[in-house]
Protein backbone atom coordinates (compact mmCIF):
# COMPACT_ATOMS: atom_id res chain seq x y z
CA UNK A 1 0.00 0.00 0.00
CA UNK A 2 1.30 3.43 -0.83
CA UNK A 3 1.83 5.81 2.06
CA UNK A 4 -0.90 8.33 2.75
CA UNK A 5 -0.27 11.75 1.26
CA UNK A 6 0.09 14.53 3.80
CA UNK A 7 -1.12 18.12 3.78
CA UNK A 8 -0.82 20.92 6.28
CA UNK A 9 -3.82 23.25 6.41
CA UNK A 10 -3.63 26.87 7.56
CA UNK A 11 -6.32 26.94 10.22
CA UNK A 12 -7.54 30.39 11.23
CA UNK A 13 -10.51 29.20 13.24
CA UNK A 14 -13.03 30.42 10.65
CA UNK A 15 -15.29 28.40 8.40
CA UNK A 16 -13.32 28.50 5.15
CA UNK A 17 -10.18 26.82 6.43
CA UNK A 18 -12.30 24.27 8.29
CA UNK A 19 -14.02 23.32 5.03
CA UNK A 20 -10.83 23.35 2.97
CA UNK A 21 -9.19 20.89 5.35
CA UNK A 22 -12.29 18.71 5.39
CA UNK A 23 -12.44 18.53 1.60
CA UNK A 24 -8.85 17.23 1.55
CA UNK A 25 -9.62 14.66 4.23
CA UNK A 26 -12.52 13.44 2.10
CA UNK A 27 -9.98 12.39 -0.50
CA UNK A 28 -8.04 10.31 2.01
CA UNK A 29 -5.28 12.87 2.57
CA UNK A 30 -3.71 13.00 6.04
CA UNK A 31 -4.20 16.59 7.26
CA UNK A 32 -2.64 18.46 10.16
CA UNK A 33 -3.34 22.07 11.00
CA UNK A 34 -1.06 25.03 11.52
CA UNK A 35 -2.08 28.27 13.17
CA UNK A 36 -0.03 31.43 13.56
CA UNK A 37 0.05 33.73 16.55
CA UNK A 38 1.06 37.24 15.53
CA UNK A 39 0.03 39.13 18.67
CA UNK A 40 -2.72 40.92 16.73
CA UNK A 41 -5.05 37.92 16.67
CA UNK A 42 -8.54 38.59 17.92
CA UNK A 43 -8.54 35.02 19.13
CA UNK A 44 -7.89 34.45 22.76
CA UNK A 45 -7.29 37.82 24.29
CA UNK A 46 -10.56 39.57 24.48
CA UNK A 47 -12.24 36.82 26.42
CA UNK A 48 -9.49 36.94 29.00
CA UNK A 49 -9.68 40.68 29.28
CA UNK A 50 -13.19 41.95 28.91
CA UNK A 51 -15.82 40.86 31.34
CA UNK A 52 -18.66 41.17 28.91
CA UNK A 53 -16.93 38.74 26.57
CA UNK A 54 -16.23 36.34 29.39
CA UNK A 55 -19.83 35.19 29.49
CA UNK A 56 -19.51 33.78 25.99
CA UNK A 57 -18.15 30.26 25.74
CA UNK A 58 -14.41 30.42 26.02
CA UNK A 59 -12.74 28.64 23.22
CA UNK A 60 -9.86 28.98 20.87
CA UNK A 61 -11.54 28.65 17.50
CA UNK A 62 -8.53 27.13 15.76
CA UNK A 63 -8.38 24.39 18.40
CA UNK A 64 -12.12 23.95 18.14
CA UNK A 65 -11.78 23.45 14.38
CA UNK A 66 -9.00 20.91 14.91
CA UNK A 67 -11.21 19.00 17.30
CA UNK A 68 -14.11 19.02 14.88
CA UNK A 69 -11.84 17.60 12.20
CA UNK A 70 -9.97 15.25 14.51
CA UNK A 71 -6.59 16.61 13.38
CA UNK A 72 -3.49 17.83 15.18
CA UNK A 73 -2.98 21.58 15.40
CA UNK A 74 0.43 23.20 15.64
CA UNK A 75 0.41 26.79 16.88
CA UNK A 76 3.42 28.82 15.86
CA UNK A 77 4.60 31.93 17.67
CA UNK A 78 5.61 34.38 14.91
CA UNK A 79 5.40 37.56 17.00
CA UNK A 80 8.98 38.70 16.31
CA UNK A 81 9.24 37.85 12.62
CA UNK A 82 5.81 39.30 11.92
CA UNK A 83 6.87 42.81 12.94
CA UNK A 84 8.58 43.39 9.64
CA UNK A 85 5.38 42.43 7.80
CA UNK A 86 3.34 45.01 9.72
CA UNK A 87 5.98 47.72 9.58
CA UNK A 88 7.17 47.32 5.97
CA UNK A 89 4.58 45.52 3.88
CA UNK A 90 5.94 45.29 0.35
CA UNK A 91 2.42 45.14 -1.09
CA UNK A 92 1.01 47.84 1.18
CA UNK A 93 -1.94 47.91 3.51
CA UNK A 94 -5.64 47.16 3.10
CA UNK A 95 -8.24 49.65 4.24
CA UNK A 96 -6.61 49.89 7.69
CA UNK A 97 -3.15 48.82 8.85
CA UNK A 98 -3.80 45.26 7.71
CA UNK A 99 -0.99 44.01 5.45
CA UNK A 100 -3.14 41.10 4.25
CA UNK A 101 -1.27 40.16 1.10
CA UNK A 102 2.18 40.21 2.70
CA UNK A 103 0.72 38.41 5.69
CA UNK A 104 -0.67 35.61 3.53
CA UNK A 105 2.62 35.26 1.65
CA UNK A 106 4.51 35.15 4.94
CA UNK A 107 2.24 32.53 6.47
CA UNK A 108 2.22 30.30 3.40
CA UNK A 109 6.00 30.62 3.27
CA UNK A 110 6.21 29.53 6.92
CA UNK A 111 3.95 26.59 6.09
CA UNK A 112 6.21 25.73 3.16
CA UNK A 113 9.22 25.61 5.48
CA UNK A 114 7.17 23.46 7.82
CA UNK A 115 6.20 20.91 5.16
CA UNK A 116 9.80 20.73 3.97
CA UNK A 117 10.93 20.01 7.53
CA UNK A 118 8.18 17.50 8.25
CA UNK A 119 8.00 15.65 4.94
CA UNK A 120 4.49 16.77 4.00
CA UNK A 121 3.33 17.05 0.40
CA UNK A 122 1.30 20.21 0.17
CA UNK A 123 -0.25 23.25 1.86
CA UNK A 124 -3.98 23.90 2.04
CA UNK A 125 -5.75 27.21 2.57
CA UNK A 126 -9.40 28.21 2.65
CA UNK A 127 -8.89 31.07 0.21
CA UNK A 128 -11.67 31.83 -2.26
CA UNK A 129 -11.24 34.00 -5.35
CA UNK A 130 -12.89 37.37 -4.80
CA UNK A 131 -13.74 36.73 -1.16
CA UNK A 132 -11.56 39.55 0.15
CA UNK A 133 -10.83 42.75 -1.74
CA UNK A 134 -7.06 42.66 -1.57
CA UNK A 135 -5.61 39.34 -0.55
CA UNK A 136 -8.03 37.00 -2.29
CA UNK A 137 -8.32 38.36 -5.84
CA UNK A 138 -7.76 36.46 -9.05
CA UNK A 139 -4.54 38.37 -9.59
CA UNK A 140 -3.26 38.08 -6.01
CA UNK A 141 -3.78 34.35 -5.44
CA UNK A 142 -0.90 33.51 -7.83
CA UNK A 143 1.26 36.12 -6.07
CA UNK A 144 0.82 34.26 -2.78
CA UNK A 145 1.72 30.95 -4.41
CA UNK A 146 4.77 32.38 -6.15
CA UNK A 147 6.24 34.68 -3.53
CA UNK A 148 5.80 32.14 -0.73
CA UNK A 149 7.76 29.61 -2.75
CA UNK A 150 4.91 27.12 -2.39
CA UNK A 151 4.03 27.35 -6.10
CA UNK A 152 1.99 24.36 -7.23
CA UNK A 153 2.15 22.78 -3.78
CA UNK A 154 -0.44 25.30 -2.57
CA UNK A 155 -3.97 23.88 -2.84
CA UNK A 156 -7.14 25.95 -2.42
CA UNK A 157 -9.82 23.25 -2.37
CA UNK A 158 -12.71 25.73 -2.23
CA UNK A 159 -11.85 27.44 -5.51
CA UNK A 160 -9.42 24.97 -7.09
CA UNK A 161 -11.50 24.50 -10.22
CA UNK A 162 -11.04 28.17 -11.04
CA UNK A 163 -7.27 27.90 -10.78
CA UNK A 164 -4.57 26.00 -12.69
CA UNK A 165 -4.05 22.38 -11.53
CA UNK A 166 -1.75 21.99 -8.54
CA UNK A 167 0.95 19.38 -8.13
CA UNK A 168 -1.28 16.91 -6.19
CA UNK A 169 -3.80 17.09 -9.02
CA UNK A 170 -1.10 16.68 -11.67
CA UNK A 171 0.38 13.74 -9.80
CA UNK A 172 -3.05 12.18 -9.71
CA UNK A 173 -3.61 11.75 -5.99
CA UNK A 174 -6.08 14.60 -5.67
CA UNK A 175 -9.23 14.45 -7.79
CA UNK A 176 -9.91 17.87 -9.27
CA UNK A 177 -13.53 16.92 -9.92
CA UNK A 178 -14.17 16.64 -6.21
CA UNK A 179 -12.76 20.09 -5.46
CA UNK A 180 -14.87 23.25 -5.62
CA UNK A 181 -15.34 26.33 -7.77
CA UNK A 182 -16.45 28.96 -5.25
CA UNK A 183 -15.85 32.58 -6.09
CA UNK A 184 -16.99 36.02 -5.01
CA UNK A 185 -18.11 37.43 -1.72
CA UNK A 186 -21.16 35.25 -1.19
CA UNK A 187 -20.98 32.97 1.86
CA UNK A 188 -23.80 30.74 0.67
CA UNK A 189 -21.67 27.99 -0.93
CA UNK A 190 -19.59 27.73 2.26
CA UNK A 191 -22.70 27.54 4.40
CA UNK A 192 -24.17 24.84 2.19
CA UNK A 193 -20.95 22.84 2.36
CA UNK A 194 -20.86 23.28 6.15
CA UNK A 195 -24.40 21.93 6.33
CA UNK A 196 -23.41 19.02 4.08
CA UNK A 197 -20.64 18.07 6.52
CA UNK A 198 -22.81 18.74 9.55
CA UNK A 199 -20.70 21.59 10.95
CA UNK A 200 -22.59 23.93 13.23
CA UNK A 201 -21.63 26.65 15.64
CA UNK A 202 -18.54 27.66 13.65
CA UNK A 203 -17.01 31.11 14.16
CA UNK A 204 -17.95 33.85 11.71
CA UNK A 205 -15.41 36.63 12.21
CA UNK A 206 -16.83 39.90 10.91
CA UNK A 207 -13.88 41.85 9.52
CA UNK A 208 -10.88 39.61 9.47
CA UNK A 209 -8.82 37.39 11.66
CA UNK A 210 -6.88 40.16 13.37
CA UNK A 211 -7.10 43.56 15.03
CA UNK A 212 -5.21 45.20 12.15
CA UNK A 213 -8.43 45.21 10.13
CA UNK A 214 -10.08 47.28 12.85
CA UNK A 215 -10.21 51.00 12.14
CA UNK A 216 -9.98 52.13 15.74
CA UNK A 217 -7.12 49.78 16.46
CA UNK A 218 -5.21 51.01 13.41
CA UNK A 219 -5.68 54.62 14.48
CA UNK A 220 -4.11 53.77 17.85
CA UNK A 221 -1.21 51.93 16.25
CA UNK A 222 -0.56 54.80 13.81
CA UNK A 223 -0.63 57.20 16.78
CA UNK A 224 1.89 55.04 18.65
CA UNK A 225 4.28 55.19 15.70
CA UNK A 226 3.77 58.89 15.07
CA UNK A 227 4.32 59.98 18.67
CA UNK A 228 7.31 57.72 19.23
CA UNK A 229 8.85 58.93 15.99
CA UNK A 230 9.57 55.38 14.84
CA UNK A 231 7.60 52.52 13.41
CA UNK A 232 8.33 49.88 16.02
CA UNK A 233 6.40 47.96 18.61
CA UNK A 234 6.76 45.38 21.34
CA UNK A 235 4.19 42.75 22.19
CA UNK A 236 3.13 44.70 25.29
CA UNK A 237 2.44 47.80 23.19
CA UNK A 238 0.09 46.03 20.85
CA UNK A 239 -1.63 44.21 23.69
CA UNK A 240 -2.32 47.49 25.48
CA UNK A 241 -3.82 48.93 22.29
CA UNK A 242 -6.54 46.31 22.70
CA UNK A 243 -7.70 47.55 26.08
CA UNK A 244 -9.12 50.73 27.55
CA UNK A 245 -9.97 54.15 26.23
CA UNK A 246 -6.91 55.87 24.82
CA UNK A 247 -6.86 59.63 25.33
CA UNK A 248 -4.02 61.79 24.10
CA UNK A 249 -3.98 65.35 25.46
CA UNK A 250 -0.41 65.95 24.20
CA UNK A 251 2.27 64.42 22.00
CA UNK A 252 4.39 63.46 25.01
CA UNK A 253 1.85 61.23 26.77
CA UNK A 254 -1.49 59.50 26.60
CA UNK A 255 -3.88 57.99 29.12
CA UNK A 256 -5.11 54.42 28.96
CA UNK A 257 -8.32 54.32 30.96
CA UNK A 258 -9.71 50.94 32.02
CA UNK A 259 -13.34 50.62 30.93
CA UNK A 260 -14.37 47.88 33.28
CA UNK A 261 -13.20 45.46 35.91
CA UNK A 262 -11.70 42.94 33.47
CA UNK A 263 -9.61 45.61 31.74
CA UNK A 264 -8.55 47.12 35.06
CA UNK A 265 -7.33 43.72 36.18
CA UNK A 266 -5.45 43.17 32.93
CA UNK A 267 -3.84 46.63 33.19
CA UNK A 268 -2.81 45.93 36.79
CA UNK A 269 -0.14 43.65 35.37
CA UNK A 270 1.42 46.61 33.54
CA UNK A 271 1.04 49.16 36.32
CA UNK A 272 4.62 49.07 37.59
CA UNK A 273 6.03 50.15 34.25
CA UNK A 274 3.89 53.27 33.95
CA UNK A 275 3.01 56.33 35.95
CA UNK A 276 -0.49 55.29 36.99
CA UNK A 277 -3.52 56.75 38.71
CA UNK A 278 -6.42 55.47 40.75
CA UNK A 279 -9.20 57.52 42.36
CA UNK A 280 -9.36 56.80 46.10
CA UNK A 281 -12.22 59.01 47.31
CA UNK A 282 -14.59 57.47 44.76
CA UNK A 283 -14.53 54.25 42.83
CA UNK A 284 -13.03 54.61 39.40
CA UNK A 285 -10.74 53.17 36.75
CA UNK A 286 -7.08 52.37 36.78
CA UNK A 287 -5.32 54.77 34.40
CA UNK A 288 -1.88 54.22 32.89
CA UNK A 289 0.10 57.18 31.53
CA UNK A 290 2.14 56.13 28.52
CA UNK A 291 4.98 58.51 27.67
CA UNK A 292 6.75 61.27 29.60
CA UNK A 293 4.18 63.55 31.24
CA UNK A 294 5.40 66.62 33.18
CA UNK A 295 3.76 67.90 36.37
CA UNK A 296 1.11 69.93 34.56
CA UNK A 297 0.26 66.91 32.45
CA UNK A 298 -0.09 64.81 35.59
CA UNK A 299 -2.50 67.32 37.07
CA UNK A 300 -4.59 67.28 33.88
CA UNK A 301 -4.45 63.48 33.71
CA UNK A 302 -5.66 63.29 37.34
CA UNK A 303 -8.62 65.52 36.45
CA UNK A 304 -9.43 63.27 33.49
CA UNK A 305 -9.13 60.22 35.75
CA UNK A 306 -11.59 61.89 38.14
CA UNK A 307 -13.92 62.50 35.22
CA UNK A 308 -14.16 58.75 34.63
CA UNK A 309 -14.75 58.00 38.33
CA UNK A 310 -17.99 57.86 40.27
CA UNK A 311 -17.04 61.32 41.55
CA UNK A 312 -17.35 62.94 38.12
CA UNK A 313 -19.91 65.43 39.49
CA UNK A 314 -18.15 66.00 42.82
CA UNK A 315 -16.28 69.20 43.71
CA UNK A 316 -13.10 67.28 44.51
CA UNK A 317 -11.82 63.79 43.84
CA UNK A 318 -8.71 62.35 45.44
CA UNK A 319 -6.53 60.59 42.89
CA UNK A 320 -3.54 58.55 43.93
CA UNK A 321 -0.63 59.02 41.54
CA UNK A 322 2.18 56.47 41.54
CA UNK A 323 5.42 57.07 39.69
CA UNK A 324 7.56 54.48 37.97
CA UNK A 325 9.73 54.46 41.10
CA UNK A 326 6.73 53.17 43.07
CA UNK A 327 6.28 56.34 45.13
CA UNK A 328 2.69 57.50 45.54
CA UNK A 329 1.10 60.81 46.35
CA UNK A 330 -2.51 61.95 46.60
CA UNK A 331 -3.83 64.77 44.42
CA UNK A 332 -7.14 66.47 45.16
CA UNK A 333 -8.54 67.59 41.82
CA UNK A 334 -11.65 68.99 40.24
CA UNK A 335 -12.99 66.47 37.69
CA UNK A 336 -12.52 67.59 34.09
CA UNK A 337 -15.96 68.46 32.69
CA UNK A 338 -16.93 65.69 30.28
CA UNK A 339 -18.20 68.07 27.62
CA UNK A 340 -14.92 69.97 27.60
CA UNK A 341 -12.77 66.97 26.69
CA UNK A 342 -11.92 67.67 23.02
CA UNK A 343 -13.07 64.89 20.72
CA UNK A 344 -9.64 64.94 19.08
CA UNK A 345 -8.07 63.65 22.29
CA UNK A 346 -9.88 60.33 21.95
CA UNK A 347 -7.91 57.90 19.80
Amino acid sequence: MTEKRKAVALISGGLDSLLAARVMMDQGVHVEGINFYTGFCVEGHTHAIRKKDRDRPKRNNALWVAEQLGIKLHILDIIEEYKDIVINPKHGYGSNLNPCLDCKIFMVNKAREWIDDHGFDCIVTGEVIGQRPKSQRRDTLPVVARESGADDRLVRPLCAKNLPPTRPEKEGWLDRDKLHDFSGRSRKPQMALAAHYGFEDYAQPAGGCCFLTDKQYSVKLADLWATRGKREYELDDIMLLKVGRHIRPGPNYKLIVGREEGENRFMEGYRKRFVHMLPTSHSGPLVLLDGEPDNNDIELAARLTARFSQGRDAERVIVEVTGKNGESRALAVKPYPAEQVPASWYL
Binding site: G44, A48, R59, L63, L73
Partner: protein, 74 residues
Amino acid sequence: MKSVDARCLLCPLPVIRTQDAVASLQAGDSLEVLCTDPGAIHDIPAWCRVHGHEVCDINEQEDTITITIRVGSP
Protein backbone atom coordinates in the same frame (compact mmCIF):
# COMPACT_ATOMS: atom_id res chain seq x y z
CA MET B 1 8.64 16.73 36.76
CA LYS B 2 9.28 19.37 34.11
CA SER B 3 7.50 22.64 34.71
CA VAL B 4 6.54 25.54 32.43
CA ASP B 5 5.90 29.00 33.81
CA ALA B 6 3.29 30.70 31.60
CA ARG B 7 2.02 33.07 34.26
CA CYS B 8 1.00 36.53 33.03
CA LEU B 9 0.87 35.30 29.44
CA LEU B 10 -2.38 35.48 27.54
CA CYS B 11 -3.77 32.67 25.41
CA PRO B 12 -2.65 31.23 23.14
CA LEU B 13 0.86 31.79 24.52
CA PRO B 14 0.40 29.33 27.43
CA VAL B 15 -0.67 26.73 24.85
CA ILE B 16 2.38 27.47 22.70
CA ARG B 17 4.72 27.19 25.70
CA THR B 18 3.08 23.87 26.59
CA GLN B 19 3.45 22.62 23.03
CA ASP B 20 7.13 23.59 22.92
CA ALA B 21 7.83 21.86 26.25
CA VAL B 22 5.99 18.68 25.25
CA ALA B 23 8.08 18.50 22.06
CA SER B 24 11.15 17.62 24.14
CA LEU B 25 9.38 14.99 26.29
CA GLN B 26 8.72 11.27 25.83
CA ALA B 27 5.41 9.42 25.99
CA GLY B 28 4.50 8.84 29.63
CA ASP B 29 6.41 11.88 30.93
CA SER B 30 4.55 14.46 32.99
CA LEU B 31 4.55 18.22 32.65
CA GLU B 32 3.23 20.90 34.94
CA VAL B 33 2.08 24.22 33.46
CA LEU B 34 1.55 27.30 35.61
CA CYS B 35 -0.66 30.01 34.17
CA THR B 36 -2.92 32.89 35.09
CA ASP B 37 -5.11 33.40 32.00
CA PRO B 38 -8.39 31.59 32.73
CA GLY B 39 -8.66 30.89 28.99
CA ALA B 40 -5.90 28.31 29.47
CA ILE B 41 -8.28 26.10 31.47
CA HIS B 42 -10.14 25.61 28.24
CA ASP B 43 -7.40 25.87 25.65
CA ILE B 44 -4.67 23.64 27.12
CA PRO B 45 -7.02 20.65 27.56
CA ALA B 46 -8.35 21.25 24.01
CA TRP B 47 -4.79 21.21 22.69
CA CYS B 48 -4.09 18.03 24.69
CA ARG B 49 -7.17 16.33 23.25
CA VAL B 50 -6.18 16.96 19.64
CA HIS B 51 -2.66 15.68 20.29
CA GLY B 52 -3.63 12.70 22.43
CA HIS B 53 -2.11 13.88 25.72
CA GLU B 54 -3.86 13.39 29.02
CA VAL B 55 -4.78 16.19 31.44
CA CYS B 56 -4.29 14.65 34.89
CA ASP B 57 -5.18 17.60 37.04
CA ILE B 58 -6.26 21.24 36.98
CA ASN B 59 -5.69 23.06 40.21
CA GLU B 60 -6.65 26.68 40.81
CA GLN B 61 -5.10 28.42 43.75
CA GLU B 62 -5.63 32.13 44.14
CA ASP B 63 -4.67 33.50 40.75
CA THR B 64 -2.47 30.66 39.62
CA ILE B 65 -3.78 27.72 37.65
CA THR B 66 -1.65 24.58 37.58
CA ILE B 67 -2.37 22.08 34.82
CA THR B 68 -0.65 18.68 34.94
CA ILE B 69 -0.30 16.76 31.72
CA ARG B 70 0.85 13.25 30.85
CA VAL B 71 2.36 13.03 27.37
CA GLY B 72 0.67 10.56 25.04
CA SER B 73 2.34 8.50 22.32
CA PRO B 74 3.00 10.37 19.07
